[in-house]
Amino acid sequence: MIRWLLSFPYFLREALKGMRESAGVPFIAVGITTISLIFLGALWIVRLNVSDLIVTWRERFQLTIFLAEGASPEQREALRRVVSGAQAVQRVEEVSPERAVEEFRGWLGPDADLLEGFDGNFLPASIRVILKPDRRDLAHVESLMAQVRLMPGVERTRNDLAWLRRLEGAIRLVDVAAWTLSGLLGLGVVFIIGNTIRLTLFARKDDIEIMHLVGATDIFLKTPYVAEGVLCGALGGALSVLALWGLFYGVFLPLAGRYAGEEFAMSAGGWSLALGLLGTGAALGFLGSAFSVRHFLRGTR
C-alpha cells in the first residue's frame, strides 16, 4: 500500500504519457465529457435557482383576509383575536383602505399617476396574516382559511398557496428530469471514457504483458489506466465549469439583466457546483476506466 502511494507521481506521469501517445483519442473523451457535464451543470443551475425562488417566495408567503365594507369594529376585533390565536400564525397586520392604496401606489412607481381620479379609499380594508416559517404548508393554511371564511365581516380570503404548490410540483418535475438526464449523461460519459481507456489498453498491450512478466501486482497494473480515466473525467469537469461560468456571466446574466431589470438575481452554483462537476467527472472517469481495465486484464492473464 505504501509502495503504491509512493508510486503515485509515477502513475500520473504514465497516465499523462498515455494521453499524449493515444493520438488525441482521450481528448475526444474529454470533449464529450465536457459537453455532457455542461448540460448536466446547466440543469442543476436551473434546479438550484427555481428551488431558491421557492424558498424566497415561501418566506414572503402570506394570507390576506379582505374585510366586508360594513364590518363592525367588534367583528374586526373578533377576527383579529381568532387569527392571532391560531398556532400557525406568527404576526397579524391590519391594513386600512388608505394604506392599501398607498402601497399600491408604491408598487406602481412611475405609473402611479394612473390612480389619479380614483377615490382615495377604493381598496378594501384587510388583515394580513404572516405564518410561522415551519407552518407554511397546505394543511395549516387550509384549516385556518376554512375557519376564517365563516366568520362575520369577512368578504373573501386570498392566499398564494395554489401557485406555490404548482411551482413545487414543477420543481419535482425538474428534479426527476435532472436525475434522469444526469443518469443518462453519466452513463454516456462512463461508456466513452471506458472505451477510450480500452483503446489505450490495446495500444499498450505489450507494456501490460511485460508488467505481468516482471511481477507487477494488479493494483500497479491498473492504476495508471484508471488514473488516465480519472484525469479525462476531471479535465472534462473543469472545462465544463469554465464553459458554464463563461456562458452564465458572459452571456446569460447580461441578457437577463437587460430584459428583466437590474434586480434580476440568479446564482451560477458557486464553488459547490464547480466541485460537484469536477468530482462527478472524476468519478465517472474512474468508473469507466476501472470497468475497462478490469475487463481487459481478465483476458490477458
Binding site: 509512493l6 504483458e209 511485460i210 501486482t217 494488479d218 497494473l221
Partner: protein, 220 residues
Amino acid sequence: MIRLTEVWKRYEEGGFALQEVGLHIPRGEFVFITGPSGAGKTTLLSLLYGAESADRGQIFIAGRNITRLRRRDLPHLRRGIGVVFQDFKLLPRRTVFDNIAFCQRSIGVPAREARRRVYGVLKLVGLAAKRDMFPRLLSGGEQQRAAIARALVNRPPLLIADEPTGNLDEKMAREVMDLFCAINRMATTVVVATHDRSLIEYVGRRAVRLEHGQIVNGAS
C-alpha cells in the same frame, strides 16, 4: 532450485504438450532444455514462470509448490524469476534505460533506487553507453542484452531464457551465452531452451532433451 514431479500438460486443442515430466535442477546450475520444435520446451518454461499451469503433477521453485499458488501470489513468484525471449519483447517507444526502469517502477521500486539498479545492470551487460537509445537502433545482440538486463534487474535467483539466440547470428549468440555463463557464475540458476546443438557444445553444460513432451535424456 527447480523440481518437477510427474508433470502433465495437455494442449487446449488436444494432445499432450508434456507427459509425466520429472526434472531436478539444483540451485546455481546452468541447464539447457533441448529438443526439436514442438517437443514442449516452451511449455515447460511457461510452467516454471507461471504463464501456464500444469494439469497434473507438482512443480517446486525454491522449495515452493507453484501448482498450488494463488493468483495473487503469482507476481511475487515472478519477481524472483528473470525471463528472456527470442523476440526480446522490448517496448519500442521506450529507451533501453526506460525499458528496464519501467519494469522496476511497475513493481513499486522507488525512482532513485530503480535508477541505481538500472545503471548497475546495464553496466553488467555492457550497454551503459547505449542507455538512451531506442531498441530499433540497436543490433539484435544488443537488444537481447537489454532484454537480459531487464530480466536481471531484480537480481532473481533463477533466469529462464526461451530460444534467446534464435534471432541472432553465431557470433552474437555466443556473446549472449558468455553473458549467461557470467550470470551463472554469480550463483544464478540459468535454464535455457534451445535447439541449437552447437551452442550446447560451446557452453558444455547439462542438457535435458525433450521429445514429444517427454524427457528422454538428462532428467537429473
